[in-house]
Each structure stands twice: as structure tokens, then as C-alpha cells.
């Protein structure tokens, strides 16, 4: 039986790493009560709250947090016609937060995610682990069988070429979830009672050329290295598909990271995911995605970006062209999506005028 950490007030407050260089982006449509549990770990950081749904509703942020909050009206005001690329009634709207942030790193978490406990019972500071993951290199070119060689207590195994041991900069840190696992609707329906109780004490780099299902619930990334590719697509209200926002972003960032020689890690940290959404509602949202996925994934697996795409934006625009070209025939939705991808880059560049931030520069 896995349980969340209930009393984090006594959690050891370590030095808040990168507190002026990292923003925490939280999409919400309900409330932010969960922040109370995270207070010892999040309080030193700046929050960007993206309020989805009804903009007239007031979302109360617990006292003591430094934050900026954007609702739909704010998004429309700031982006004008470009606001069409930001989803409504779907947590995909969080990517607006990535766009308006001025920091180097982003950590994003869902409002139904709580502090987990490690096997020794200690409350896990997920943010700290993400930061460690991002600050240490990745190793995408050769699989290390003892996983992340930069962690304490591990290293490169025999046979690992020394020329590959320096690693590459880490662009994304993908965390996992205890309790309610991130299953799709059909799996949820078949196994409604399954809980993830296994704490796998590992971080690893996802090898180059391999795609993975990226979950947005517990995710951190280097905004300067990969930010523009973290568009979470067109989902939710008025769209034929939902719950594929993070998946879409995951496929895009992975092909771009592979192309630019950046690393993506997965594994620790764990958070405690408490709410299982309604599997029938999920099925309705995901339905088309489940079929489209079968064609989308081979598409991404076959993507080869041209050499002259040397920045994230260039890669992304090229990818948008390919989406329109190859996926447009599956459904007109992909035409719209490809256009939205371009709109997103325009909006990103407008809000983040070229500085060092936007060149695919190594950290």
C-alpha cells in the first residue's frame, strides 16, 4: 500500500537550488489546495498559474507564494489572435505558462499530485531531484546498464566507451507517479484497481532514436534549450481529441532533442498521484487518439530533420510542415494542428525576442 506524505511541514528545507532561475507552472481549473502539501519545497520559487475554464471564477492561491496568474481573458489579451493556439478546457493550456516565463528552467505539476514517500518513509522533494537530473549530463548514445552513471553510487559499466562518458546536456527530466498510474482509458477500464506501488530507484536517459510517452504531470525542462518545442497542441474544447497534449509534445521534443544532441531523462522523482479521472470521460476524449497514435508514432519514428535546422524553432517549423504533409491525410485536425504549431512559434518569438534564450545553445 503506497501512501502520500501527510505531514511535510517538518520536511527538511534544503537550500533551494536555482530559485531565481526556475518557474513552477501549474494549470488548474479547480483549486490550488494541493500547494499546501508542497509548501516546504515550492515556497522559495515563483509560480505561474494558468487558470483554465471559466475566467470569472477566482482561484485562491495559498498565502506566502509568489505567483502570477493568467486566466483565459489574460491569454486572449496577451496573445490576441494568436491565442487560438492555446487550448481551452484541457490542461494543455499550461504551455502558455512556458511561453510567458522569463526563467531558464520550468517545472510543471498537476494540481492532483502530492508529495510521495520513498521506501524509507521520507518525503520526496521532487523538485530537487528534477533539478539534479537537469544539471547532470545525459547519455543517449549508449545504454548504461546501471542506469544514470552520474548518480551517487553508480557509474559507467565496463564496456562503456570513454569518449561517450562526458554525456550531453539534459533538456528534459520526466518524473513518475506512485498510486494512480498514467494509463490510457482502455487500460484503466480493464485494470481499475491497479496502483503503482513499485518505487524504482533509477533515473535513466532515454536512448537516441527511441520515442516515449511523455506525461506532463511531473515534468521539468530546460526552457532555453527546448522550450519552444514544448507546445502541448490543440486539445479540449472544440477539438476532436484530448489527453494527448503531453504525448504530442513528448514526441516532438524527443525528435528535436535527438537531432540537436540533447538528452531526455526519465525515472525519479516520484510524486503521489491521487485522482483517477473518470475512465469513460477519458475514453471519449482519447478515442480518436488511440487510433491516430498508430500512424502518428511511425511518422515521428521516421522523422529526419535537415542539417540546417540548428535551432529549436527551425526544427519545430520544419516538423509542422511535415505534420501537415504526412498527417494531414489522416484527419483535417492535423492541418489545424500544424498551423497552430506555427502560430505557437510566432507567439513564442514575439514574447521572447531573440536573445541567448532562443538559440539552441548548449547550457
Amino acid at each position: 500500500m503506497v501512501e502520500p506524505a501527510t505531514d511535510t511541514k517538518s520536511a527538511v528545507r534544503t537550500v533551494a537550488l536555482l530559485k531565481d532561475e526556475l518557474d513552477i507552472v501549474i494549470p488548474t481549473i479547480r483549486n490550488l489546495d494541493f500547494l499546501e502539501m508542497w509548501r516546504p519545497f515550492f515556497e522559495p520559487y515563483h509560480l505561474i498559474i494558468v487558470q483554465d475554464g471559466d475566467p470569472t471564477k477566482t482561484i485562491k492561491v495559498p498565502d506566502g507564494f509568489d505567483y502570477e496568474l493568467y486566466n483565459r481573458n489574460d491569454i486572449n489579451k496577451i496573445l490576441g489572435p494568436k491565442a487560438s493556439c492555446i487550448s481551452f478546457k484541457d490542461s494543455a493550456c499550461r504551455c502558455f505558462g512556458y511561453m510567458v516565463s522569463k526563467k531558464k528552467y520550468i517545472f510543471t505539476i498537476d494540481d492532483d499530485c502530492f508529495v510521495a514517500k520513498d521506501p524509507s518513509g521520507k518525503a520526496i522533494n521532487a523538485l530537487e531531484q528534477h533539478i539534479k537530473n537537469l544539471l547532470c549530463p545525459s547519455t543517449p548514445f549508449f545504454f548504461n546498464t546501471l542506469y544514470d552513471p552520474f548518480r551517487e553510487g553508480a557509474d559507467f559499466v565496463r564496456g562503456y566507451p570513454f569518449s561517450l562518458r562526458e554525456g550531453v546536456p539534459t533538456a528534459v527530466s520526466h518524473g513518475l507517479w506512485l498510486n494512480i498510474p498514467d494509463y490510457d482509458a482502455p487500460t484503466q477500464l480493464v485494470k481499475p484497481l491497479e496502483r503503482n506501488t513499485r518505487y524504482v530507484d533509477a533515473v535513466m536517459t532515454i536512448p537516441k532514436g527511441t520515442l516515449f510517452p511523455m506525461c506532463g504531470m511531473n515534468l521539468a525542462f530546460h526552457r532555453e534549450l527546448i522550450g519552444p518545442a514544448m507546445y502541448f497542441g490543440l486539445m479540449g474544447d472544440g477539438q476532436p481529441i484530448g489527453r494527448y497534449d503531453d504525448m504530442w509534445a513528448g514526441w516532438c521534443i524527443k525528435v528535436i532533442c535527438d537531432h540537436l544532441g540533447l538528452g531526455v531523462k526519465t525515472g525519479l522523482p516520484y510524486i503521489y498521484h491521487s485522482k483517477a479521472s473518470n475512465p469513460f470521460v477519458n475514453l471519449r476524449k482519447e478515442y480518436k487518439g488511440i487510433f491516430w497514435q498508430e500512424e502518428i508514432i511511425p511518422f515521428f519514428q521516421a522523422v529526419s530533420l535537415p542539417k540546417d535546422c540548428t535551432t529549436v524553432q527551425k526544427c519545430y517549423i520544419e516538423l509542422a510542415k511535415m505534420v501537415k504533409d504526412k498527417l494531414g491525410k489522416i484527419d483535417p485536425y492535423f492541418d489545424k494542428l500544424a498551423d497552430a504549431m506555427v502560430t505557437w512559434i510566432d507567439a513564442w518569438d514575439e514574447l521572447n525576442p531573440t536573445g541567448a534564450a532562443n538559440k539552441g545553445k548548449k547550457a
Binding site: F142, G153, D182, T187, E194, R198, T210, I297
Partner: protein
């Protein structure tokens, strides 16, 4: 407008269509009524499902069966494979008699080893291959109920002869065991390892875990972030100090990572021969004792044979669409050897690795290679042509690989050569 009121029979058949799911047996029905029920009522009303189809099939009536065949009505296949995995004590599909445990003996006194592994190995057949360079006789505990076959230099010489370039000395001796085994699965563990213990101090059975890994599918085409979806409790899903070994000689691996995962297709990895299991029938020939360092030694730091063999097997598996898993089980490995001394020998291996990794990564085998033997033969040719020039070690490896394929064809199957 109906010209005739419905007959009692027709009303009865219509009513029965509505209640079809409650019937357990349709065979008492006269043939013509059965046909009518099936064709005109059930099919037309769209009420055919698996259960009802089975009901009609069970009648055994020829006309119904031929109708089903003509209309090409088929059972719905389950598109989603069940991922519920078997309990730890029951390994689906694999029986004890299908397994050989192969141990390469580099130490003559195997009594501590046997005693440590007794409870785990005793139900299986063991093949112990004595390192041909080992002078002393093997000491094995008497009276244990093991089924063991021991092979020594004389067996190796008899089967392999002297006309081969393959050297079976040192850690490579166990490949002889792989060659002469006639079982479907092989588990091989180095003779300086003992079972690890879990958090409750219970011995971990690596054989059972290996067999579970081998019995459940692998997922090489996409990375599952919850690792092996076929493990119990998992399924498919929707720094700081960044240091390096030579600076920390005291480091021991104390982290137990409770995961098994498939290493994705086209991703290369260093496969260690210390604790390994494989499906001999499918990839046996691909694990070959080919790359030897010029001063290959008797400790793992001084060998590269398993790393090379592992990369060959990974390329073969990727080509044939087979999976390679990494992770559990752990075994406990004791300290052996002197790192600095070994480094003097190992540097050669380190240098060789720099060249071979990119080379293996770019390897694409031809479509005509459909078996492991074909693949290895093709790879051997390429090693000779493309790597042979840069280091004589590669040229020798290529020859060894070719000899291995020949050897495997000759004595890898059929009656045991020993």
C-alpha cells in the same frame, strides 16, 4: 401491408431471437428452423455475438457450419495482450527441463559456490565447463542432488578440435557449454557470484526472474516509462556532483533498482556475461567468443568477450525483431582482482570499444539474413573487411566468428557431441 397474419411458428422464432442469450443448447431444433433462426432472424436483427455464435457452432449442424464458413464469420481476436504476469513461483510456459545453467569454472574449488546456489540451482541441470587453463582438479561438493555434466579441456579438444581459431580459455570456456547444451534456455552466472538478498534477507532467485523476463514479451519499439509492462503491478502507460569511476575506488553498487526493461531497438549497450540468460534456440549462435584482448586475463576487468558478444547479439535481435531486456535480477558479486593491474591490460579493450560502438550502431544486416547463423556470418565478413585493418584483434575476432558459425552448424544441434 401484410397479406397474411404471422404464423405461430414465426412468432415463436422471433421471440426466441430476443432471448437467444438465455438458451444453452439449440441442437433439439429442427434443421430448417435453426437455419431460419440463424440467417433470417439473428443475423438480420444484428444479434450475432461471440456467445451466440458459439451456441450455433455447438449444434454441429452441417448447414449452419457451412453457412458460417461461407459468410466468413470469424471469432474476434483479442487485440490487446493481457499484461497480467504470472506469480513469482509459477513461470508461464517454461519447464525446468527446458533450462541449462551453464557455469564457467575459473576457480577450481567450487564448493562455496555450489553451497551458496544449492537451493536455487538444484532443480535444474547444470553444465560446468572447466577453464582449459586451470591446472587443478575441480572440487565439487559431494552428495548434492544436482544433475551436473562437467566438461574439461579434453571434451573441448574432442568436439572442437585444434583447427579452430576460437580460444575457449578463461571466461570464454562457458561458450562451450552454450554450444553443447541441448536445452531451449540457458542461464549463465560467473563463478564468483552468489545470490543477492532482498530487503527481508531472503535469497533472490535470479533464475526465476530471468525465466520470467524471457517468457514475457519485450517492447523494443517504444520506451515504456513504467519499464516492463508485463511485470505485476505495471502496465503500458499513457547533478551537483557528476563524477566518474576512477576517482572513487571505494564505490560499490548498493542500489537495488526494482525494474526490468527492454533496451530499445537500435540502441547499443554493454552486455555483461556475469549474469545473463538467453533463448538458445533463437539466438544461441549470436553469442560468440570472438573478441579477445591480447593479454586477456582471468578477471572480468581484463576481458571484452562478453561486451563484443553482447553487441553482436543486440544487432541480431534488432534485425530479427527480438527483444533484449536489462535490469533484474541482481546477483552479489565479490571483490576480485586489482584495478590498477587490470587497467594495464584493460586499456586495450577500452581503445577497441571506441571504434566498435559507432560501427555496431550503424550496422544494417541484409534482408536475406533470417537466422542467427546467417546474421553472424554476415557480421563476421563485415568485421573482417571494415575493422580488420585497424587492429589485428578484429581480424582474429572475425575468424573466430566464422569458425563459431561453422561449429554451431556442425555440433550445435542433433545428438550431443560429448
Amino acid at each position: 401491408m401484410r397479406t397474411q397474419p404471422p404464423s405461430l411458428l414465426s412468432l415463436a422464432v422471433d421471440a426466441s431471437v430476443l432471448h437467444l442469450s438465455h438458451f444453452s443448447d439449440l441442437s433439439p431444433l429442427p434443421d430448417h428452423i435453426l437455419l431460419d433462426l440463424f440467417l433470417k432472424r439473428t443475423l438480420r436483427a444484428g444479434k450475432l455475438n461471440e456467445k451466440i455464435l458459439k451456441l450455433f457452432l455447438a449444434t454441429g449442424k452441417e448447414e449452419v457450419l457451412s453457412l458460417i464458413q461461407t459468410l466468413n464469420i470469424q471469432h474476434i481476436l483479442t487485440p490487446v495482450l493481457p499484461t497480467k504476469s504470472p506469480k513469482m513461483s509459477v513461470v508461464n510456459n517454461i519447464e525446468d527441463g527446458e533450462i541449462d545453467i551453464v557455469i564457467g569454472a575459473l576457480h577450481s574449488d567450487l564448493r562455496p559456490f555450489m553451497s551458496a546456489w544449492k537451493s536455487i540451482f538444484s532443480r535444474y541441470h547444470l553444465i560446468i565447463v572447466k577453464d582449459p587453463d586451470l591446472k587443478d582438479d575441480l572440487q565439487i561438493t559431494e552428495g548434492l542432488s544436482f544433475k551436473i555434466d562437467i566438461y574439461t579441456k579434453s571434451h573441448i579438444d574432442k568436439v572442437v578440435g585444434s583447427s579452430t581459431s576460437i580460444a575457449f580459455s578463461g571466461y570464454s570456456c562457458k561458450y562451450f557449454g552454450f554450444l553443447v547444451s541441448r536445452k531451449k534456455y540457458i542461464v549463465s552466472i560467473d563463478d564468483d557470484c552468489v545470490p543477492a538478498k532482498d530487503a527481508d534477507s531472503i535469497l533472490i532467485d535470479p533464475v526465476a526472474q530471468h525465466l520470467r523476463n524471457l517468457a514475457t514479451p519485450a517492447t523494443p519499439f517504444f520506451f515504456n516509462t513504467l519499464y516492463d509492462p508485463y511485470r505485476n503491478g505495471a502496465d503500458f502507460v499513457r547533478g551537483l556532483r557528476c563524477t566518474n569511476t576512477s576517482t572513487e575506488p571505494e564505490k560499490r553498487n548498493s542500489r537495488y533498482v526494482d525494474a526490468v526493461m527492454t533496451v530499445p531497438a537500435r540502441v547499443m549497450m554493454p552486455i555483461s556475461g556475469i549474469n545473463i540468460a538467453f533463448n538458445r534456440e533463437v539466438v544461441g549462435p549470436a553469442l560468440c567468443p570472438a573478441l579477445r584482448l591480447t593479454v586477456e586475463g582471468k578477471v572480468r576487468w581484463e576481458t571484452m568477450e562478453d561486451i563484443w558478444s553482447g553487441m553482436c547479439v543486440k544487432v541480431v535481435c534488432d534485425h530479427l525483431g527480438l527483444g533484449v531486456k536489462s535490469g533484474l535480477p541482481y546477483v552479489w558479486r565479490n571483490d576480485r582482482g586489482d584495478a590498477i593491474e587490470s587497467l594495464k591490460k584493460e586499456w586495450e579493450g577500452v581503445k577497441l570499444m571506441e571504434e566498435v560502438v559507432p560501427w555496431f550502431q550503424s550496422m544494417v544486416l541484409s534482408r536475406t539474413a533470417t537466422t542467427a547463423e546467417d546474421c553472424v556470418a554476415e557480421m563476421a565478413k563485415r568485421v573482417k573487411e571494415q575493422l580488420g585493418g585497424s587492429d589485428p584483434g578484429f581480424g582474429r575476432a572475425a575468424e573466430a566468428m566464422m569458425d563459431w558459425v561453422e561449429l554451431w552448424k556442425k555440433v550445435g544441434s542433433g545428438p550431443s557431441p560429448v
